[in-house]
Symmetry: C2
Subunit: 194 residues, 2 copies
Amino acid sequence: MSRGRPRSFDRDIALHAIMEVFWARGYEGAQLVDLTKAIGIAPPSFYAAFGSKEAAFIEVVKLYIETVGAVPMNALNNSTTLREGVQAMLLASIDVALSQTPGGCLLILGVVNCLPENEAARNCLKEARQVTRDLIVKRLRRANAENELPKKANISQIAAFIHGVMQMISFQARDGASRTEIEALINPVLKALD
Amino acid sequence: MSRGRPRSFDRDIALHAIMEVFWARGYEGAQLVDLTKAIGIAPPSFYAAFGSKEAAFIEVVKLYIETVGAVPMNALNNSTTLREGVQAMLLASIDVALSQTPGGCLLILGVVNCLPENEAARNCLKEARQVTRDLIVKRLRRANAENELPKKANISQIAAFIHGVMQMISFQARDGASRTEIEALINPVLKALD
DNA sequence: CTATATCTGTAGTCAAAATTAAAGAAATGT
DNA sequence: ACATTTCTTTAATTTTGACTACAGATATAG
């Protein structure tokens, strides 16, 4: 089948390893030496496997969305009532945010400020956030169809606010807030949904 | 009085100029060449006047708090009712967030991820955010004393949430949200205060 | 067993970014 | 005027970080 010397490491495991590094340090904060050390390889092996730091990041974001990020979004959808769904999503987001050191969501905090040459990484996350927002909108439309919301409810405003709560969770987790403090943040959303 | 060749630029004006740069690009995103270009000087003049990039940033943060950041905090305090104060503060925060390109507050977005050698800048902002939070707590205590809040109200939880709304304002402004979209974010807080 | 393909390891290259050395310029104080 | 002080200008220097050339290693195909 495949000729040549085989790779000395498992590419999937390596991708998970660098996901942790990008998650903890952000795109620019994660230096190549951190990535290669996390895998236990030398730079040429990294470039052979992933192409570039930027390409690796884009792949990591995809993996993050499919694994880490999927949990809250599934919790949102696999619920009968909107209120339960939003609550479950936000609680899962808190788990995600507190599962890393320092805390927070890669999609929200991974690239906030960046050098001009790293705009591609920032846009990659911006698009991912738009997908998150769209999923929330979709769930709200379903709730609307099921008469869980006033017909005149402004779906996109509510979605922006719910997404905003995920953002404050990430920021405060990054600043070192405790689980108790962060869990208290979600009450106003649930109250607003009643 | 002061001997020697006089400075060719006004230090205060220069500080304001680099405040804009740090605000727009963040600490690491603002390169020295951006700072010196904004002032119109060469690197040695910058170092003679400010010491280092880090020292300049710390000075900028102080200036930002005293000028830009003071507006929302004064709005919070110069109000008879808590509700009016919070609303005025958040509206002022929106003005601040939308007054820069890209949007957002320097204290919230200036350093999110950073290289290990820039932890000092991150801590500087973290402390500034703590001051913001403390001011909100103080205003809530006053409201509590004036019987505007239930005696059992959890002041620090409410403060964390209000601060969180400022974070979502900044973050969504940075992502390009419109004034209308951002203004809609503050309704749930006001509702929660009733 | 040989040729070929692909990986690894060492040791770089290259560019960018913060910082500074050194010489000349422009003010004050005597 | 002259000495002194402090700034400006130009051109490095130094460091760091992403990326790679090249030689040696290890697999498959025939």
